[in-house]
Symmetry: C2
Subunit: 155 residues, 2 copies
DNA sequence: CGGAATTCGTACCGAAACGGTCCTGTTTAT
DNA sequence: ATAAACAGGACCGTTTCGGTACGAATTCCG
């Protein structure tokens, strides 16, 4: 349904939480508690973000996670593609070139157009913009955004 | 991964095929043969599109399907929301109002921004624009676009 | 130097959605 | 009346997603 996954949603909540407190570093249990998200998922998501270079991880006894860059430097494009792969509405967009139907398939260019529009919209929004001045108080159960039971009429 | 479903992909192929021959009407087996798509899926998809008002169906022995409106009047937004529900990247967008986290959730406005950009991009493209002058020759096996085995690096 | 805390990596499982098929009406032209 | 075609389900296998668990590697602190 053109939805982001729940994990991506989690990731964004975590990142905004981190961005709201640039000085501190957080470990997984802290973040889970303060965002109200399930710890195992938080853990999993943080690892992914760290591997993708969005977070700096610090191992050992007083370890934790912190933003690898300034929140203003992180675009939503990067966040989303870190968490769920390249942004490509159709498969034919990221296989880049060897689409067997290229000759006959007239829609590809238009898909690229649509895809580009999406990506540009995502590029224009930085993590800092997604982060409010200083909301995201501890203990608040955020989220449950991502995919779900939508069954409304048509938009 | 922010992908459209395969059925949506099929639907677009079918619609462009119909748009390329506005005079004729097609029945399901014909369309399946001429697009190279599996008949049961074609049938299912056509029914959906008819129910959503994009196609006009004609029952009975010489029945078939035709576009319900001019191809220039049909936007991609309508096609996609007919086939996979309202366009909403996050759940909180189409539940429209009663998001329990509205107070604390800072990201909602930004999601709406992103969503709006996507929808506008989709609104700007009509079915006629997706349809080539007169390609889509009979018997050509189009498609296999939709979702799939993408595993490229990051965009 | 050794132990404890913490992240890292990976393997695993259940549930839901997706892709695809089939069957039983209902309608309509011949 | 009969055959062709749409309408509307129910149904199933496979994949993906959401979530869990466990062992290994790393680093701080006593």
């Amino acid at each position: 349904m053109i939805r982001i996954t729940k994990q991506t949603d989690y990731g964004i909540v975590l990142l905004t939480h981190l961005a709201a407190h640039p000085e501190r570093t957080f470990n997984a249990p802290e973040l889970a508690a303060e965002t109200g998200l399930p710890l195992p998922m938080v853990s999993k998501t943080l690892k992914l973000l760290a591997r993708e270079g969005l977070l700096a991880s610090h191992r050992g006894v007083r370890g934790g996670y912190g933003l690898a860059q300034a929140a203003t430097e992180i675009t939503m494009t990067r966040v989303i593609s870190a968490l769920e792969g390249p942004i490509a509405i159709t498969e034919c967009i990221d296989i880049s070139g060897d689409c067997a139907h290229e000759r006959i398939c007239p829609t590809r260019n238009n898909w690229q157009r649509i895809n580009r529009a999406l990506k540009e919209a995502l590029d224009r929004i930085s993590l800092a913009e997604m982060t409010p001045p200083s909301r995201t108080e501890p203990g608040a159960g955020l989220v449950q955004l991502g995919r779900g039971t939508s069954a409304a009429p048509a938009a």
